[in-house]
């Protein structure tokens, strides 16, 4: 490939991810509003929020690691987006594949954890301890799903996976061939997003607890950007693994938004789980579904 084209892709892919991610945040808020019979925010609310947070007058930093944590949180996702193929652009997806992508998305969590740690707020540290426990919870079904998918397609290269799914239409989509794993993956995604009913580790509704407790101004703004990337990554990864990737931008976006709408709708219907109950739940049902799904695949 021409290097100019590649550079363009590497610039465009995170940029698109950010814009689409803002749209996903908007959708999440609109769904919540509909379910709660509110009007919901306007079209550019996510953008306004980021601008507002960045332009706050009071911005308290607890030290260099606090700031670098936010940089890592954004930077890790910017890098991860170039590993995630979108219609017409593969970026450097062939250089790492699925496992590298999975681990690349842990860099932002590490950054956030380091940043929160330096704030020396015990409530923030408790939030991180919960977040990491939650990660241990939802990653077990997730890695079962990832194994199943990679084994089924015989590759960890996302580009090849998409090509295989698109070769035979809907019948060869991951969701059609591995329905149990697709359900388990949806379950894991619900946990990964950190929304209801598993949002206690983010504690978005509490001011004095959770990882965000010392985050104000552009620190919170940076994490808002991270959230846009996070939603995008979760949705697009699911589409890539199970829904045949994107044939073109229209179907790609429809699929990505539609698949994210499922956990977002479920989110508003359930009360909270405690972290240890979340571990119990995640290690039981989705793991069982996933293992059952694997039994059909691994021969």
């Amino acid at each position: 490939m021409d290097w100019k084209e590649l550079v363009l892709e590497l610039v465009l892919m995170p940029l698109i991810a950010f814009v689409v991610g803002m749209g996903m945040v908007l959708m999440m808020r609109r769904i919540a509003a509909k379910l709660q019979r509110r009007v919901g925010p306007p079209l550019f609310q996510a953008f306004y929020d980021i601008v507002k947070l960045h332009s706050k007058e009071t911005q308290v930093s607890h030290g260099l690691i606090h700031e670098i944590g936010i940089v890592m949180a954004i930077g890790g996702y910017v890098a991860a987006e170039t590993l995630l193929p979108v219609p017409g652009m593969n970026g450097i997806a062939a250089q790492g594949g699925l496992i590298a992508l999975l681990y690349m998305t842990m860099i932002p969590s590490l950054g956030l954890a380091l940043g929160v740690g330096q704030c020396a707020n015990p409530n923030g540290s408790i939030g991180i301890s919960r977040a990491l426990t939650a990660m241990l919870a939802y990653d077990v079904p997730l890695v079962i799903v990832i194994f199943g998918v990679a084994y089924h397609y015989g590759t960890t290269n996302l580009v090849d996976m998409i090509a295989q799914q698109q070769a035979g239409g809907i019948a060869t989509w991951g969701a059609a061939e591995m329905p149990l794993l697709a359900i388990a993956g949806l379950f894991a995604m619900q946990g990964m997003l950190g929304k209801h009913p598993f949002e206690i580790y983010v504690a978005p509704a509490e001011i004095a607890t959770g990882p965000m407790v010392e985050m104000g101004g552009k620190f919170l703004g940076g994490l808002f950007v991270m959230q846009c990337f996070q939603l995008y990554t979760a949705g697009v990864l699911y589409v890539t693994l199970f829904l045949g990737g994107g044939e073109n931008w229209a179907t790609f976006l429809v699929k990505s938004f539609a698949i994210l709408a499922i956990p977002m709708s479920i989110a508003m219907l359930f009360p909270r789980y405690r972290t240890e109950d979340m571990v119990r739940l995640m290690w039981k049902w989705p793991v069982m579904l996933g293992l059952l799904g694997l039994a059909f695949i691994v021969r």
Binding site: Q59, H62, G75, Q95, V143, Y151, K218
Partner: protein, 622 residues
């Protein structure tokens, strides 16, 4: 004199210099230089890419020749050994050893023990037959004991425990050697390797059990792992860095020589346990997987930074074995490469912890915190180390683990794959606790005046941190060594590039990944620092939580029982089953010794001797 003789000579000379001149102040830097010379001598042998080199001397014991030779496998392990010795001696050479001497300890003894360890390991790695292997094995055991026992009563107990384990292991190895000798008629590697395919499966099973447990003891494989954490953690200062980096990998070296190279992974895969559900290879793979998971989650519970790291060292050994028993090019390369990667980050981590101990006097995770502002460079080293240990990009640990994961996927081993990743997740939890409780959170008031670690300790730490990053960015050189090792051992050879691995089922190119990650950080920094208002930095002790201003007098660091929610759930699983096993075995041995004691004391020994003689005669007559 061959180039191998020269290597042994230089290594022996290092030991002699440490022994004779070790009490002089200037000897320590000289020793560092001598380790450097050992490294040069090793490179001079040229056994990595060239032909094996034999030592010109040899001994004959009971008509059995003992000889030594180096090939690529020996070179690889020897390179890490000398490197670990070099960095540990460097770390010890300056301020650390004066402080150690002030504490009433003898740096001379430390340097002698370290040099003896390196020498013994180099001898072991050069073994050309089972006798020299056994000799080297015993040398290493005794040298390790010497270094382990230096650190006071706790370390003495741990070292004795190690010695008990090491002797039991050596007995198993000796038994296996006797068995081999009766079958092959020789203890030469070549003859034994030729004889093994003619053995029945039962015989190979017995050999596997004996060798496996013997080598497994040193490697810390389950269920023989209980000695290791305490023994390594209690070793003084850089000694634990040296042990953590390489010592237990001698077990892996022996496993590679005997089990992987001579028996072969294919043979193991064809040896089924009853009903053909599980093969010997699966059994080994599951031992490896359990060695990953159980020690890792034990590490999660530790309150002492040194113990935490030592437990992780045991767990990471599981990855190496797991990679090896996959038998595929990528998996075995990942396992072998992990030896190198683990050595770099484990040494760096132990050194960072010891630097904190040097400055604050404690490694207790509940008595530290907030040191990042006081010791930023040590923090940086620890950060690089934990990213490597957890196996996240961009550090080198990610590359080797990636290779093991993808081999497990390709081979269709879902449960082992999940086990490997669960181990990694547990590691992430545990290392975050480590760095949080030491460097992040509240700075204790008594640590307000703590200064950065002295330069003599920082320099090797930073050098190792650089190595961790560079070998993650450009894994090609290490992979080229690994490929040579695979060739020597008779494994399929990995197809590598400068930046990683090339494979039709998914490649890895770290140059791209690290490059894009750095670019991402650049974008992140631009977004964060380039836009928006200016942030105001508050003092480290200026904190506010839960409606109160927190003063330095209040202890509010969240450190103890860090993962309370998780422990509430999985805490009851820590039942110490292995400790029970160990106690049961030692109780059994006690009982047997009492019984024998009673028999010899209360019954006429002559009667027994007579009975035994008659029995022997009858048996011989038949």
């Amino acid at each position: 004199m061959t180039s191998l003789d020269l290597l042994f000579l230089v290594s022996g000379l290092t030991l002699v210099v440490a022994l004779v001149l070790g009490r002089q102040r200037l000897t320590a830097p000289l020793l560092v230089v001598l380790y450097g010379v050992q490294f040069a001598a090793l490179i001079h042998t040229g056994t990595l890419f060239g032909d094996p080199v034999a030592a010109s001397f040899g001994i004959t014991v009971l008509d059995q020749p003992m000889h030594w030779r180096y090939d690529a496998l020996s070179w690889f392990f020897a390179m890490i050994t000398i490197g670990a010795g070099f960095f540990s001696a460097w770390y010890a050479a300056g301020v650390w050893q004066s402080a150690y001497a002030k504490g009433g300890q003898s740096p001379w003894l430390f340097h002698v023990a370290l040099a003896a360890n390196v020498f013994a390991m180099l001898v072991l790695l050069g073994s050309g037959d089972f006798l020299s292997l056994f000799l080297g094995w015993e040398l290493v055991s005794w040298a390790s004991f010497l270094l382990m026992a230096l650190g006071g009563p706790a370390s003495g107990r741990a070292a004795l425990r190690y010695l008990t384990y090491a002797f039991s292991g050596a007995m198993a190895i000796l038994g296996a050697m006797a068995l081999l000798y009766t079958q092959a008629g020789s203890l030469e590697y070549a003859q034994v390797a030729a004889a093994i395919p003619t053995l029945t499966n039962t015989q190979v099973w017995v050999l596997l059990a004996l060798f496996g447990s013997g080598f497994g003891v040193k490697m810390g494989l389950l269920p023989f792992h209980l000695w290791q954490a305490a023994a390594y953690a209690e070793t003084p200062g850089p000694g634990s860095a040296f042990f953590g980096a390489i010592s237990s990998r001698m077990g892996l070296y022996a496993i590679m020589v005997v089990i992987v190279a001579m028996m072969g992974v294919t043979r193991l895969a064809n040896m089924d346990v009853v009903f053909a559900l599980v093969s010997a290879r699966d059994l080994l793979a599951w031992i490896a997987a359990l060695t990953i998971i159980l020690p890792t989650f034990t590490a999660l519970q530790q309150h002492d930074a040194r113990y935490l790291l030592a437990w992780h060292g045991i767990g990471q050994g599981g990855y190496m074995l797991l990679g090896l028993v996959t038998g595929s090019a990528i998996g075995t390369a990942g396992g072998i490469m992990h030896v190198f990667n683990h050595a770099t980050y484990q040494a760096a981590l132990f050194m960072a912890v010891m630097a904190v101990v040097h400055r604050t006097g404690t490694a207790d995770l509940n008595k530290l915190g907030g040191l990042v502002a006081r010791m930023p460079l040590s923090f940086l080293v620890m950060l690089f180390g934990i990213i490597g240990l957890a196996g996240l990009p961009p550090m080198n640990g990610f590359v080797s683990k990636w290779m093991i994961y993808s081999a497990l996927i390709t081979d269709g081993m879902p449960l082992l794959f999940v086990a490997a990743i669960v181990g990694t997740l547990g590691t992430i939890l545990s290392v975050y606790k480590l760095i949080h409780n030491m460097f992040l959170g509240q700075l204790r008031i008594e640590h307000e005046q703590v200064r950065e670690a002295p330069l003599s300790m920082l320099a090797p730490m930073l050098a190792l941190a650089t190595l961790i990053f560079l070998s993650g960015l450009v894994p090609g050189p290490v992979l080229s060594w690994v490929a040579e090792v695979q060739r020597v051992v008779g494994l399929p050879v990995v197809n590598y590039s400068l930046g990683g691995v090339i494979d039709p089922r998914g490649s890895l190119d770290m140059l791209w990944l690290v490059g894009i990650l750095m670019a991402g950080f650049g974008v992140g920094a631009l977004v964060f620092f380039g836009f928006g208002g200016k942030s105001r930095r508050v003092h480290q002790l200026d904190n506010y939580a839960g409606g109160h201003f927190l003063t330095a007098q209040v202890r509010y660091q969240y450190s103890d029982n860090f993962y309370a929610g998780l422990m509430h759930l999985i805490g009851p699983w820590y039942r110490g089953a292995f400790r029970w096993l160990e106690e049961a075995i030692s109780a059994l041995v006690d009982l047997l010794s009492y019984a024998m004691h009673w028999i010899y004391r209360s019954v006429q020994p002559l009667v027994f001797l007579l009975a035994a003689t008659v029995a022997m005669l009858v048996w011989a007559g038949v």
